[in-house]
Amino acid sequence: MKPTTEEPGPLPPAIVSRLRGLDRSQPIVDPRTDRAVLESAREYFGARPVSAPTRRARWALPLGAAAAMLLAAVLVRPLVFDGSPPARDDVDGSGRVDILDVLALARMRAAGDAAGVTEARIEELAYRIVAIDAPRRLP
């Protein structure tokens, strides 16, 4: 008789139950084996580096804000100062105060060189740079 190609029919529950019983599907609990397997896995993966997620997070926030400002800044004129810009705002020493100074502040903060560099300072400079007013001298 040619075997059917269809999915075979169900097995009566009494037979399934007995099959499971013969299979002794009761789990064995053995903590020593569990410990041995998991310790082996920890040793095996132990050669891999452990990443530093907190460092990444510190970068992400100010850099994210700066990236958003950069996008806006390409659409508007950066503030250009008459004469030499205030040294405080020209963070990268380029002679101009622009979004690159915001990025420089963000990098300084993320690298731990945070003297005077607060989130508020970064945001304040970023907002001033992307202002769509005519260029004006900073107070």
Binding site: P3, L11, P12, A14, R18, D23, P27, D34, A41, R48
Partner: protein, 188 residues
């Protein structure tokens, strides 16, 4: 015990492939706890011995571990993980039994199939009918109705053509249906 980890096996395998030391070890632990009982059940089928089954369990997960870097090239799941674990557990169990028999001086009988079903009493017709099935047919029946593997998954796990799996299962059911001791169970 912490909350249930709902990440899929595919996600956990991906972390084991490329995650850092801590992430990979945690992901592997989840895989172990999720599939441990299945592997142990398979191992017991072929060893009929608790201690040998535990040895086979450890060997099976060592085999899985070495699929990942640094020793392995990484694992890509093309089917559910039990279809990969079944042959590994079966082979580990057979190896464990062979080693034990070698040490005990017992004859190295054919081991590549399910052991004969346990002795049964005359009052257990189902047991008698199941014991009468060939090991190949009983193996397919067990994978289908105890381990809930699909026919395609059974084919992968046993490294057999799908048609062979269907044929064995069909013939196993036919044999049970025609067994005078239990044929009434198939009546609607």
């Amino acid at each position: 015990m912490g909350p249930i980890d709902r990440r899929s096996d595919e996600e956990l395998v991906a972390i084991c492939n490329v995650g850092d030391a801590l992430e990979a070890a945690r992901a592997f632990e989840v895989l172990y706890r999720r599939h441990r009982d299945f592997v142990l059940r398979v191992a017991r089928r072929f060893t009929r011995d608790r201690d040998l089954a535990l040895d086979a369990l450890q060997e099976t997960f060592t085999y899985l571990l070495k699929k990942f870097p640094p020793a392995g090239e990484g694992l890509t799941l093309t089917a559910r993980l039990p279809t990969l674990l079944y042959p590994a557990a079966k082979n580990a169990a057979i190896t464990a039994v062979r080693k034990a028999r070698r040490y005990s001086g017992a004859a190295d009988a054919v081991l590549d199939e399910l052991p004969a079903a346990e002795p049964h009493s005359e009052g257990e017709p189902i047991d008698a009918a199941l014991a009468a099935l060939s090991p190949e047919r009983r193996e397919v029946l067990t994978l289908r109705f105890v381990d809930d593997l699909s026919l395609a998954e059974i084919a992968v796990a046993l490294d057999l053509p799908l048609g062979t799996v269907k044929s064995r299962l069909h013939l196993a059911l036919k044999e049970l249906r025609e067994d005078s001791r239990i044929k009434d169970l198939f009546q609607p």
